[in-house]
Symmetry: C2
Subunit: 454 residues, 2 copies
């Protein structure tokens, strides 16, 4: 049996800085606009929601941003995360490709999300903030922020998309175990929530609505800030520790990727694995192919419009230019809740426009099949979101077999599936189907994009 | 904020041998007896169930037993597991004690069980075995053997205690994700199962019954063997990698434990952390206090009888001398399924008789409270079984505070609680109570102990 191999890094080699891709972009990001005036905003416009340290990271063009000591101390609990050579999977696929995967499921919350949750909690604590509000879909982000809040003594309030709140009581219980409060969204606690419920009493909720509620509460409470688990530049920045570590670990293995694969919902785990490699390419190094894998039922990168749009449903957030399906778009209820967002991180969208990444969309059944093949070969059961990256990597490996090439494939396994067993039960029971979004709904959502002339 | 500290070991320092406490025992274990003749059995008597390599480990008195290369290759996927200094918990308790914990939840199945599952699958594969049957309670063992079976290409069939089969569909789904078959026990597939169901159609099952079913099937199928997840000497042997690593990690930390704490169900995770330290003491080294923590509702060490008994309900297994509540004893349905076994590992029982360990029993509410305090301080949510060890360690730390001493406490955090969220939901909802076993039932179970004169 050819064994899969783990590449560890000495703790002393945990990166001391995050990597900021903005420093190396060939063209700057389009400006962020005020939702009312539609004019570019300044740092002060974001001050009701975020500490100034995070706002400055959001707009920074410095290449390396120091990871504060206390954040590194906590990272050390599970970092450096392992990088594996998936030899058993290679053998099962009978592929000449080399497959490496970085595994973020070793964090206490089981996903990559604590990388930014810990950083955001730290900066908020430094700024004297006592409470943070946030939204969560499947619950990976909410439980990660709850974890970070417990460590820093910050109260966490999570608005959880109602359909997930009802379907995923275990994620909610994990948040409560860490001492956080979890509320089904839309709720009666906010104006945004009440407005939605007035229209439809049994509204299942959406990430866009939950963001509106969390933002509304934070904006009105001087002791509270808001935190977002993906999309924003500073969130993507914090996740680059994934790719930076992977780079060092691949060096130990004596390899460099020809293809880097990540799944994309809001874009943060993808950015985490990919940005350091994209940046190295932009600075004259090798240029691996970069592949973003998204769900066919919520295909912002492959079917969305590159346009200014709101991040939330109630239109409280600033306008950012991104690939969007429209802020009112509601994707079908497939099982990768972390990928059910109408927009894409502006920086990831920008890279797509610059031709620096490829995007591909897969339906869920093929992703579950790929995830189970991976589990039986490598022993780790991926989260449904991560199955999209597994599927992308397997497709690359099978293509290599057809083409007779032997590329080095690197993908990010962003979380384990231990909280997603119902999805696997539904898959085994034949209850899952490959759903497509509604074309008419997409057209309507896109027709509602705000008109902006910058 | 004083940070909790992780002690890692270079992969090259994963132990190359397991430690066999039998080599250092001041008195040998009482013999194992044939269930029919009640005479001591020989290796051949066990051959229908186990490969000869494991049988020889069962009776070996060699101190160091080599870990085969392919087993070490798989261990490397998650080993060495981290040892943490729980500084944040120390601070929360305001204790002068130093608290260290070894964390086995980093394995792909989320507990210590793969340490022996991988070894047992390897030896069975070497012996040409195609199928392994086993039992499981809460499902940690079953899913670990399913994981190991997937890696070695062995079919795994798991008889899962019916009440858990119904209550814990997610553990079952994890086994199925790894390709294993999972059957509710008692089942109609075996004579043992049918006999029980004839008496009571809706029997909730027990570990003892599930063992009977798995043993019966393996004994009748020449291509199949049986595997047990705890209790037996060779299982405890494989778990000693936990304590051996901890010893090296504590050396890095410059400490040696004054107290070693583990939770006990069948005894394997406890043996894993404790045996290397007990052995070092027996060979003239320091003698830490060794504390076994068991559930008050299933208190084999503190309330059981030290006597010959069967390991299963249908009395198919050999007789071993152990602390037992009687093989027909059914504990109340508390939430640490992995600790609901009527017997205790013969070697752990023997140590208790020799005065080499202390045993203490706690009710579940206090254990959940301890587990949540731990989670909010250290960021890891323990399994309900592991909460017993946390409770034991916290009690030691609070005692140190009262006494004004500063002992070094080491405990084993044998698994995470991500599959046990329903237990936490029940706890939060006030649905859990501290159940006691039925004294009359215990008396009846004990009165049925087989009469043996050795």
């Amino acid at each position: 049996m050819s064994e899969s191999v783990k590449y560890v890094l000495d703790e002393s080699r945990i990166p001391k800085t995050w990597y900021n891709l903005a420093a190396d972009l060939p063209a700057p990001l389009p400006p962020v606009l005020h939702p009312g005036t539609k004019q570019p905003i300044g740092p002060q416009d974001l001050a009701p929601l975020f500490p100034m340290s995070l706002i400055m990271q959001e707009v920074s063009t410095e290449r390396e941003i120091e990871i504060p000591g206390p954040v590194r101390d906590i990272y050390r609990q599970w970092r450096p995360s392992p990088l594996y050579r998936a030899r058993r999977l290679e053998k099962a696929l009978d592929t000449p490709a080399k497959i490496y995967y970085k595994y973020e499921g070793v964090s206490p919350a089981g996903s990559h999300k604590p990388n930014t949750a810990v950083a955001q909690a730290y900066y908020n604590k430094e700024a004297g903030i006592q409470r943070i509000t946030t939204e969560t879909g499947a619950g990976q982000w909410g439980s990660s922020l709850a974890f970070a809040g417990a460590l820093f003594g910050i109260e966490i309030k999570v608005y959880m998309v109602r359909v997930s709140f009802n379907q995923k009581p275990y994620r909610r219980a994990l948040m409560e175990s860490y001492g956080a409060t979890c509320v089904a969204s839309p709720s009666m606690e906010t104006q945004s929530g009440r407005a939605i419920l007035a229209q439809r009493e049994d509204h299942p909720g959406s990430l866009g609505i939950a963001i509106s509620e969390a933002v509304e509460v934070a904006a009105q409470d001087p002791g509270a800030n808001y935190a977002l688990g993906s999309v924003l530049n500073h969130v993507l920045l914090h996740q680059t520790i994934i790719g930076l570590e992977a780079m060092e670990q691949l060096e130990l293995a004596g390899d460099y990727p020809d293809v880097v694969v990540g799944c994309t919902g809001g874009g943060s785990n993808f950015a985490g694995i990919a940005f350091p490699f994209i940046g190295a390419g932009l600075r004259g190094g090798p240029k691996p192919r970069i592949v973003a894998v998204e769900p066919a039922a919520c295909p912002s990168l492959t079917r969305g419009q590159y346009a200014y749009d709101f991040g939330d449903t109630a239109h409280l957030t600033p306008l950012t230019k991104m690939h969007t399906l429209g802020s009112t778009f509601t994707p079908p209820g497939f099982h990768a809740g972390g990928l059910r967002y109408h927009g894409m991180a502006p920086m990831v969208s920008h890279l797509k426009e610059l031709g620096l990444l490829e995007a591909v969309a897969y339906h869920q059944l093929g992703c579950f099949e790929a995830g189970l093949q991976f589990a039986r070969a490598e022993g780790i059961l991926p989260a449904p979101e991560a199955n999209h990256a597994v599927k992308g990597a397997i497709e690359e490996a099978l293509k290599a077999k057809r083409d007779g090439t032997s590329p080095v494939i690197l993908f990010n396994l962003c979380g384990h599936g231990h909280f997603d067993m119902q999805a696997y039960i539904d898959y085994f029971g034949g209850k899952l189907v490959d759903q497509d979004y509604d074309e008419a709904e997409l057209a309507m959502a896109l027709s509602g994009l705000p008109s902006v002339h910058v």
